[in-house]
């Protein structure tokens, strides 16, 4: 019976799975412990009647193609999972509907197409699109360079070649866009993706959102053919191939530490113990530093940092299995952003209330994968956020009523925005609320986006301070709460990075 491992990973979410493969690929032994009976965390699917619903993924950016892999494609190659996953590319970025201003624009994918769209939006619009993509592109290049030199860039290169990064990095999206002073319709159309990061533009770091917009528009996006459950099982298969262990229904209660405060193992809820000097936790630091570590093993600075942070959006999703085809229903795109207003500061505030119809990000999976449900049917899922802990006042008895009231509003908003009827065609329905996300993944308050991108806790702050932010020797924390914030590519990358750092920690011990 094996009880000792080089590394133990807590949580088989995207970050945990990537972290495990990062260390297993370098010949270390690794055990992954997951509380649920499936890998993936949010990256999963579920079956209702004749529909298999994707639980969370809208679109995956950064895979690229076999010939020209994107940043996540490169990572998947390195981890050894690329051959296990098939992807289908998307054709448009999103259809953006802003109700207050009557905006309804479908944004294509591909640099030239996005630039061409500009002139259709306003006079001279293409020039602004081009300018923005050039600025954002130069920032993406800078971030690639920073990654390649492991955070130790040549200051002169930064101040010459990557000057745009240096001049924008400390500013919010709003500050930079105000200064750029583009025509309002251009700015509104460019900002559609903001809700994927869940931060309003006066908090959201410019380089983060600009890099993301650039990456989607110029490199495209895709979805896996077998739902994100297929991604998670591909990772699990690879873990087994490399001799790793992964145990389900295995909730970790405690991270054990020795008398020096160094990690020494973990203890499951059932009392079983497994030993290691290196734990990578793919869960929220709020959980780690409140219940999983002994008080004496928690450095004061870790408490300060964790208290400093703010929770990001709590999730809410309505899953619909409809008994008509997308064409019959009048749903022609894959991704929709429907906002009550283009003013995302206002929308963000509205999203604090329960119920709200401030906005939604909606996917019709059939428009990417025509065969994802039986002929003549449609899978549609509507997602929104709660920017406050709005569900904390809901009682056990009122829970279903509140869930349905909230879902009704979102369904109606989609129907009204597209002038179509969904209601008469609902064959299967599932609703995930913050309570659901809290139940399955234990996230505080049902948060799905990790820590909020506060003005001073954005992407570049976190990446540069990642070693400084690790306080317990032998413990690394990655995933959606990590350095790269939330999202599929981000959580895989942050997990793999924590894996690499753990390998560094192990190497140092050997000396």
């Amino acid at each position: 019976m094996k009880k000792n491992y080089d590394v133990i990973v807590i949580g088989a979410g995207n970050g945990g799975l990537a972290a495990a493969l990062a260390v297993l690929n370098k010949g270390k032994t690794c055990l992954v412990l997951e509380k649920h009976n499936l890998p993936g965390g949010f990256a999963t699917s579920f079956v209702r009647g004749r529909f298999e619903f994707e639980a969370s993924l809208h679109e995956f950016n950064g895979i690229g193609t076999k010939e020209e892999p994107g940043s996540c494609g490169v990572l998947f190659n390195a981890l050894g999972v690329s051959d296990k996953i098939d992807w289908v590319p998307l054709h448009e970025a999103y259809r953006l509907i802003s109700l207050e201003e009557n905006i309804d624009v479908t944004v294509p994918l591909g640099k030239e197409k996005v630039i061409a769209l500009g002139d259709k939006l306003c006079e001279g619009g293409s020039k602004y699109m081009k300018d923005f993509l050039e600025l954002a592109g130069s920032i993406s290049d800078a971030m690639t360079y920073l990654g390649e030199c492991h955070g130790k860039p040549d200051p002169n290169v930064m101040k010459t070649k990557y000057i745009n990064y240096m001049t924008t990095c400390s500013y919010s999206f709003k500050e930079v866009m105000d200064k750029l002073n583009y025509p309002s319709i251009i700015r509104k159309v460019l900002t559609g993706y903001w809700s994927y990061l869940g931060a309003k533009e006066d908090d959201m770091s410019f380089v983060h959102l600009a890099n993301m917009i650039n990456s989607y528009f110029t490199k495209g996006a895709c979805v896996p053919t077998l739902r994100s459950h297929g991604l998670s099982l591909a990772f699990e298969e690879r873990i087994h191939e490399l001799g790793g262990d992964i145990y389900f229904n295995s909730k970790v209660a405690k991270i054990l530490t020795d008398e020096t405060g160094h990690v020494s193992g973990v203890k499951l809820v059932n009392g079983q113990e497994y030993y290691t000097r290196h734990v990578i936790a793919n869960c929220s630091p709020h959980n780690v530093f409140s219940t999983m570590l002994d008080k004496k093993a928690i450095p004061e600075r870790a408490l300060k940092l964790t208290n400093y942070r703010k929770f990001a959006g709590r999730g809410f999703t309505v899953f619909l299995g409809l008994n008509k085809s997308p064409k019959e229903l009048g749903i022609n795109e894959h991704s929709y952003f429907i906002y009550s207003s283009s003013d995302n500061i206002k929308v963000y505030k509205e999203m604090g209330k329960l119920p709200h119809t401030a906005g939604q990000a909606t996917v019709c999976l059939n428009n990417a994968l025509p065969d994802c449900s039986p002929k003549g049917t449609t899978i549609l899922y509507i997602t929104t956020l709660f920017t406050e802990d709005a569900w904390s006042k809901v009682s056990e008895k009122d829970y279903v009523k509140m869930k349905n009231q909230m879902a009704e509003g979102l369904i109606k908003q989609f129907e009204d925005a597209l002038h179509i009827n969904l209601h008469d065609h609902i064959e299967e329905l599932a609703i995930a609320s913050p309570v659901t996300y809290a139940h399955y993944c234990l996230h505080p308050q049902g948060v799905i986006y990790g820590y909020y991108s506060q003005y001073n806790d954005g992407l570049m702050y976190r990446i540069q301070m990642v070693n400084e932010d690790a306080y317990v020797p032998g413990l690394r924390i990655g995933g959606g709460y990590g350095e790269r914030l939330d999202g599929f590519p981000s959580s895989y990358k942050s997990g793999a990075n924590e894996g690499a750092r753990t390998l560094g920690d192990i190497a140092k011990e050997g000396k």
């Binding site: 009976n37 000057i163 001049t167 500050e175 059932n270 409140s290 879902a407 702050y461």
Partner: protein, 383 residues
Amino acid sequence: MFTKNGPNEDVKRTLSMLDVRRKLIDDTPAKELPKTYAVNQLADALHPGFIKATIKEIKPCSKNSKVITLSAKKFPYFRAGQYVTISVKINGKVVTRPYSIMSSPNDALMGKLELGVQTAGYVSTYLTTQAKVGETVLVSEPIGDFHHDSIRDEDTIYALAGGSGITPFVSMIKAIIEGSENFKLVILYGVKSKADLMLDITKIKDDRIKIIPVYSDEKVEGAENGFLTKELIKKYLPEKASIFMCGANLMYQFVKKELAALQFDLHQIRSETNCAVDQKIDNPREFNLIVHMRDEVYQIKAKENESLLVAMERAGLAAPSRCRGGHCGFCHSRLIKGSYVAPKEYEHRRLADFKFKYIHPCSTYPSSDMEIDVPPVDELKEF
């Protein structure tokens, strides 16, 4: 090149970013973090996993069934029509079966849960003939989507019930009367005879509920007789209703044919899944089954005609068991080696499960020696 306050000032700001954040962290008090949150507590209240309960009462319900009343401090509030699993120890081995809840959601909050159990299978017969008042059992949280939904369903449910398939509808009746659910219910209730009725129809006086018993083996004056035929279904069909069906598989086969003849789209009919039963095989072979549960490895026997879950329960393993009909996914397990039969009527696996070789042991039958990796359920072991 972009600049906001002049390149020098912008770059300076970028270079001092981290000091700003360091100071913000320094200035934050090192308070103890909350151990839980209201939303997480609600999640725990609705999904406690397993609940230790006591059998409080066993009383006759119909000729062939009993009502088992379970008691605990509190059961989760549920949606009328849902089921729980109950785990009992028979001959020293823990076995688990699903039963529809027959009591109301409000009762659950008061710590009362009723199950209507017909003397039929292994566990049901134990519960109706051998179980004792005061016995401790393990009850799961309520599960399943066989319930009314205000968005998905019409305001009326047209229930087609056969035999003990009435139990989820009894819960719905109680929920409507107590006000925890709000819809109308028309029930076509097929039973053999009056003695088989699992509820006293004469006692239900509510405009929103209509029950039409249909007796198959007994001629009852002034009542409907025979089976749930298309004529009968049509006769009582409400103007606009969602059709819910609960009963034995044989009944489903019969009623589906009748509904098809009435031009119903069968996909729009909701039926509660039944447990996967033993396969009919003459002289079934016996195979070796290796089961991994975390770092434990068990070598057990598995019969060709019995599901892998039955084999594991027989061997006393703490195997996951919920719907036992292949659709809830609770027993999702990895196939390491061997071949199997998975009957189509219980096939609800995810697409990726086929590619990466995962099975639902509750509805999977061995056709060779097999090796599988199963998530253990510690609660069953400790129970």
